[in-house]
Amino acid sequence: MLSRVADAIYWMSRYVERAENTARFIDVNLHLMLDLPAGFARQWKPLIAVTGDETLFQKRYGQATEEHVVEFLTFDRSYPNSIVSCLSQARENARSIREIISSEMWEHLNAFFLTVQNTRPDLAADAPHDFYTEVKMGCHLMAGITNATMSHGEGWHFGRLGGMMERADKTLRILDVKYFILLPQVQDVGTPFDNIGWSALLKSASALEMYRIAFGLIHPSRVAEFLILHPEFPRAIHYCLRKADRSLHAIAGSPAGTFANEPERLLGHLCAELSYRPIGDIIGGGLHEFLDMFQYRLNEIDQTIFDTFFALRPIQKEKS
């Protein structure tokens, strides 16, 4: 497979995953705001914190009001990680590899992007839940079409690798930002707001229902455990990285548990750590420090994926 093509599939998939996560974060936050009592501080800033683009936002919009944050994260064409920009880039990538992906994938992504692009922000604001649901479903449909119509060969694995790396990153960020905001303030412990907040965090990762099945009552360290370590929940970091690892091995053809290249080595190492480290140990050592280091290592893996598979190698001078 051409390096450029592998790169395009990887990013197409990452951008769709990114758009879906952003839509979900906004949607959950809009709901959360409805449940908070009057006078309670509107919490829109953390959503910007999740993107890691606070400085850019600050410069362009100033106050983190609902209107500003929603505009920035959804419709701002000049912000590369807004939903509409993500879908635009996903589509541009798809456009450059139309002969590799299935027609169904292209036609859906193309029509989906055009619909979102042509949505008037004021109309989306009138029925935000409908709009963000449409975005989420559009992204899920893309994933479903991809799974059902594209051969699960090298290209598909690059796509899944990109999607899983992105998803792990997003779960990690939302957990990192929200966990510390939500950690019990003495006066809030046991109040309904406490529960609402943690539920919202789980919902932000589509995890509330699955969490209830696994653990029942909401408890902060259990929430962290579920989102980081759960081996079966598809948005848990551990799950994402194991799938990413499996795709890497499928791409290189190397046996599980071994490594043939740098990203395999780093990712294998990270998966092993998640497999054998209990949550108490992680929290004991400082959850934020853990997540921060983890983020760094994810970036490192992303860089080695680029170096190993996508980077255009320097042209060798031909002997004449």
């Binding site: 497979m1 051409l2 390096s3 456009r95 450059s96 139309r98 027609s103 090298e154 190698r313 060798q316």
Partner: protein
């Protein structure tokens, strides 16, 4: 939809002999169209457009900042070409391509046609498509132009003429195939009853021809299509064709010359490439040989090509025959190499380098179409009757300063056909671009791209200048 208000004016109409009387091959179509209500026809037109939009069938327009992609306007009323008429076209195109290939090969080898004084030497040496580095090269099978898209027009007299040869990287074939897909859904019954010759096998014929260029060198050649990238106006087509043929779509940066071969960079290292169907111009192919500022090409490609380790279609240097001054000599070229008279004539052409022709052109600028010898796509031309005095003065100056660079032709009263305009039909001018493949033998795709000028009265059909397209139906047997 009633055609009672439809007027053919004094143009040749592709569908009607005269108002109310359809041509034999179009009787069935006219009946069906007449049986549909105005609203129904408009809604079928809308459905077809929506289909194209969702399939993402687009082209890029240069010079438009916002939204580089456009959906090419499409009219659902097909253009019908009857079987006997098509036989004549096919025959004429074969003759033309055969002669042009002999001509190009001669130009880069013995130059007999120049020595015999049929074409002045300077016409060739000053043609921008003539490439000195290609002198003496021998492309596989001796064929230079593998894919041509020759533009035909029909004048008021009902005869077809060749307007342009398009021998370099002609585009539009993807629209032929996609338009057909859409029309089969739009008018399934008429389509079936009309016995239309299929076009769907074009991609496999193209692939077969491309593979044949590596015959004798490798058993299972790796064929790729080289594109300038997603921002090229024909990118959609490049992607479409690779998908249909199941080959890799590559950009210049994907390819590299290594150990004497052209290779593509893959996730598993370098892979050898045997045949390149290039959709970029000659001069961008290799910065070592041609333009040193090209970002699109592959340094060293021409060395590998010269050594016969990669085939390129169309062969570099083919563009020499695409010069509009050379076009003026095609009837002589056919006579010289084949000893035959040309079967589909050229539009009468004045070559401004000839003193008499130039004087005539300068005296009749208001009645002629002036074209730059090396431009295409509707760029660099002036339609005298529609031009302002200022534009005519400008071209007059250009012609006198650079007579070799201009040709002129009378305005062809392009034939018309009905197109849907809101709830009724109006006549619009159109041309026809059939596609011709040359390898071991010559194949002419039955049909081709019918381009139609959607603006009322306009004679310019190019997509970049507000043109649209129609499906072209070549009928399989003569109608009674």
């Amino acid at each position: 939809m009633q055609f009672d208000r439809y007027d053919t004016d004094d143009f040749y109409d592709e569908m009607f002999v005269r108002p109310g009387v359809p041509r034999p091959g179009s009787i069935l179509l006219a009946q069906i169209l007449s049986s549909l209500s105005d609203g129904e026809l408009a809604s079928r037109q809308k459905a077809a457009e929506a289909g194209l939009f969702n399939m993402g069938i687009t082209f890029n327009v240069y010079g438009h900042e916002a939204g580089v992609e456009k959906v090419w306007p499409f009219d659902i009323i097909p253009r019908i070409v009857e079987a006997n008429e098509w036989a004549g076209i096919e025959d004429g195109l074969r003759q033309r391509i055969q002669a042009l290939n002999l001509f190009i090969d001669d130009i880069y080898h013995d130059r007999k046609i120049l020595k015999d004084g049929v074409i002045p030497e300077f016409v060739i040496s000053s043609a921008s498509g003539f490439l000195l580095p290609c002198v003496g090269l021998a492309p596989p099978l001796g064929v230079w132009c593998h894919i041509a898209g020759i533009d035909l027009v029909r004048d008021r007299d009902g005869r077809f003429y060749v307007l342009e040869d398009n021998l370099r990287c002609p585009s539009g074939v993807s629209y032929v195939l996609e338009n057909r897909e859409i029309l089969k859904r739009t008018f399934p019954q008429v389509f079936e009853a009309s016995h239309v010759r299929p076009v769907d096998d074009y991609p496999s014929r193209l692939l077969e021809m491309l593979r044949s260029l590596a015959a004798g060198r490798v058993d299972n050649p790796c064929v790729v299509l080289l594109t300038p990238g997603p921002y090229n106006s024909a990118y959609y087509e490049h992607s479409f064709l690779t998908r249909e043929m199941g080959i890799e779509l590559v950009e210049g940066r994907d390819l590299v010359v290594r150990d004497g071969f052209v290779c593509m960079r893959t996730t598993r290292g370098f892979e050898r490439v045997d045949v390149i169907y290039r959709r970029i111009d000659d001069v961008f192919l290799d910065i070592e040989t041609f333009r040193s500022d090209s970002m699109l090409g592959i340094p060293g490609l021409m060395r590998v090509y010269r050594e016969g380790r990669v085939a390129i279609a169309n062969a570099p240097g083919t563009g020499v025959a695409d010069d509009k001054v050379v076009y003026g000599y095609v009837p002589d070229i056919v006579r010289y190499y084949l000893g035959e008279e040309i079967r589909i004539p050229n539009v009468p052409t004045y070559l401004c380098w000839r003193d008499d022709d130039r004087q005539y052109v300068l005296d009749h600028l208001d009645a002629l179409v002036v074209k730059a010898a090396n431009a295409s796509g509707g760029y660099g031309m002036m339609i005298g009757p529609h031009a302002t005095t200022q534009e005519r003065d400008e071209f007059s100056r250009k012609i006198q300063d650079h007579p070799r660079e201009y040709i002129a032709q009378p305005v062809v009263g392009l034939s018309r056909a009905p197109v849907i305009v809101e709830n009724h039909c109006e006549g619009r001018h159109e041309d026809l671009r059939p596609f011709v493949l040359s390898g071991k033998d010559i194949y002419v795709l039955p049909g081709g791209l019918t381009r139609v000028a959607l603006r009322k009265g306009s004679l310019v059909v190019n997509s970049s200048q507000g043109g649209g397209s129609k499906d072209t139906w070549v009928l399989d047997r003569p109608e009674n």
